[in-house]
């Protein structure tokens, strides 16, 4: 099963993309890489996901946009982004210099917008995969709505799939009543991988003002607090579909990476943990490699799904 004497290999195939390690920067905590490059090494990631991108530029929601919660945080950024054109023309080419596979996270208000987004990025050099966000809780129209019932999820996925030929990831919401049926619909619609999970919906009240803290009232809950929900979603979905699953929710250390892998994820993305510890990825991958060596694993992929296999 393994040769403990060799240096463990962390690489993984994600729907045809070759990643040198299974750690991905989640969408929304990495911008388009410019800020991250000033703090830490982009090369530490197996792949990076850029900020949720819409067809047209968005200014985002009124502040406050972030707020701490027990072992987590709320955000209601509201998809602040320069729009798909600028991303395709300026942001991606800059980021591509780092040689790390780039996943563009896209968000639409209508099926037509999803199609247009797929078409905008098709053929753009440097865009290695699209991640369809049918799960954003922080925008009025669309957003999460597409991820709440199987039919809408199927249609949104299909809309992108028709225009975009490369690897297609669909990112699901834990707020859906039955995530397995949504996952199946995404795969039927043409998803080549699934990301689980986006944020839960939360509110925090400011005791001083006696009103919600966030300018947008509700925000997306993430961080270690939600990890058990994310692991449950991965555990359920990875058994039900044949495409690879990206585990997301509360990753702050290599033990969380292992937990998601055992639950059935072949790669893992780090969201809010990166905001707290931007230099963590290199350390986490070192720890993962050491764990594999100690446990006699040639590649952590050997663990994927151990919890249900």
């Amino acid at each position: 099963m393994s040769e403990s004497s060799r240096m463990p290999d962390l690489s993984v195939d994600l729907a045809g993309l070759r990643l040198k390690n299974p750690l991905i920067a989640a969408s929304g905590v990495f911008g388009y890489g410019e800020e991250y490059a000033k703090v830490a090494d982009i090369g530490a990631f197996g792949a990076v996901t850029v900020k949720g991108t819409t067809l047209h530029p968005r200014a985002g929601n009124p502040p406050p946009r972030v707020c701490e919660t027990p072992a987590g945080m709320l955000n209601s950024i509201g998809l602040e982004n320069p729009g798909a054109e600028v991303v395709a023309r300026e942001k991606v080419p800059w980021l591509a210099k780092f040689g790390v596979p780039i996943i563009v996270n896209i968000s639409g208000d209508t099926y037509d917008e999803f199609s247009a987004l797929g078409a905008t990025f098709e053929g753009v050099s440097g865009v290695d995969a699209l991640e369809v966000n049918v799960s954003c809780p922080n925008v009025q129209a669309g957003g999460m709505a597409f991820g709440m019932d199987p039919r809408s999820c199927y249609r949104a996925t299909r809309a992108v799939r028709r225009e975009w030929k490369g690897p297609l990831i669909v990112k699901l919401s834990p707020n859906a009543p039955d995530i397995v049926s949504i996952a199946r619909a995404a795969v039927e619609g043409g998803a080549s991988a699934l990301s689980l999970i986006n944020t839960l919906i939360g509110v925090v009240i400011d005791l001083k003002t006696r009103r919600p803290v966030l300018g947008n009232v509700t925000g997306g809950l993430c961080g270690p607090a939600v990890k058990p929900v994310a692991v449950r979603c991965v555990y359920q979905v990875s058994q039900a579909v044949d495409v690879p699953v990206i585990g997301i929710g509360g990753v702050t250390g290599y033990r969380d990476v292992l937990e998601f892998m055992m639950a059935g994820a072949c790669t893992v993305a780090m969201g809010s943990g990166l905001l707290v510890d931007p230099t963590a990825p290199a350390r986490i991958m070192e720890d993962l490699r050491r764990y594999c060596a100690e446990e006699g694993l040639a590649n952590p992929q050997e663990l994927v799904g151990s919890a249900w296999k």
Partner: protein, 274 residues
């Protein structure tokens, strides 16, 4: 004049001392050579108050002391919640993760020819970043006046350093418990009225104060830089959380990566939280 956001490091800083000041204020001296070496006045750091997930996010604090040669930095805070409470219990010798220096900061150009005056207007813990700024300005030949206010004496940081630097310092409290019973804008108004071209005002404090200072300076026609605060998750420009409304466009600036120092006319202070 505001600086460029440069590279930041995540440094394991050693706590050298933790001193309580008046009221609920605390000052810590940290050994953090890498940050001390590259920090500019008005920059800030993101502090992990203790290990683990509670509290989860780091906390932003302005550098209240920068000693590149000794590898030292200082932060000064008010105990207002869980994070700052835990920080007040730090023990000398303890190691703390500190990410910085962050934000644009403010580089003061040397005075050549004509004398120039810097008006520092601060409220409460807003005085913290003014210490390194006054020091740098004095070293570069500026005259420095400090106008400092707070609700009452117990919310005032120790401002005696400014006297040592040779700054003109005036203090006010809302309740008159120390200095004049007045708002800090009342103190600054007369002085600012005498400002000459090339003089500069810098303010840091609660939004209502900053708004009043902005009105005052724009009325008189003095250049004003404002240092802003907003709730932050990363402090490094990653999350887009720390939005502050731009004065002219529909969009937002980000306090951590575009600021914390802004030209007063660029930001809509009605938009930030009061």
């Amino acid at each position: 004049m505001t600086g460029e956001t440069g590279a930041a490091v995540d440094e394991r800083a050693q706590v050298l001392s933790v001193e309580r000041g008046s009221g609920r204020t605390v000052r810590a001296l940290l050994s953090s050579p890498q940050i001390a070496r590259s920090a500019k006045p008005m920059q800030f750091v993101m502090v992990k108050v203790r290990d683990g997930a509670d509290p989860f996010l780091r906390r932003p604090f302005s550098l209240s002391l920068i000693r590149p040669d000794d590898g030292l930095i200082g932060i000064t805070w008010d105990v207002v919640g869980r994070g700052t409470e835990i920080m007040a219990l730090w023990e000398p010798g303890q190691e703390i993760l500190v990410l910085g220096p962050l934000g644009n900061g403010l580089e003061i150009e040397p005075v050549s020819g004509q004398p120039r005056r810097l008006y520092l207007i601060a409220g409460g813990t807003g005085l913290a970043p003014m210490f390194p700024l006054a020091e740098a300005a004095k070293a570069r030949g500026w005259d420095v006046s400090v106008f400092y206010g707070a609700r009452s004496a117990e919310f005032l940081l120790d401002y005696s350093v400014f006297d040592g630097l040779g700054c003109h310092t005036q203090v006010a409290t809302d309740d008159g418990s120390l200095g004049r019973k007045a708002f800090v804008t009342d103190l600054a108004a007369a002085a600012l009225a005498g400002a000459a071209p090339g003089d500069l005002a810098v303010s840091c404090g609660p939004i209502p104060m900053t708004r009043a200072v902005k009105a005052l300076c724009s009325g008189i026609g003095v250049d004003l830089l404002v240092s802003l605060e907003e709730r932050m998750a990363c402090g490094t420009g990653l999350c887009k959380g720390c939005a502050v409304k731009a004065a002219v466009s529909e969009g937002y600036y980000h306090v951590c990566s575009d600021g914390p120092v802004f030209r007063a006319q660029d930001v809509d202070l009605g938009g930030a939280k009061p």
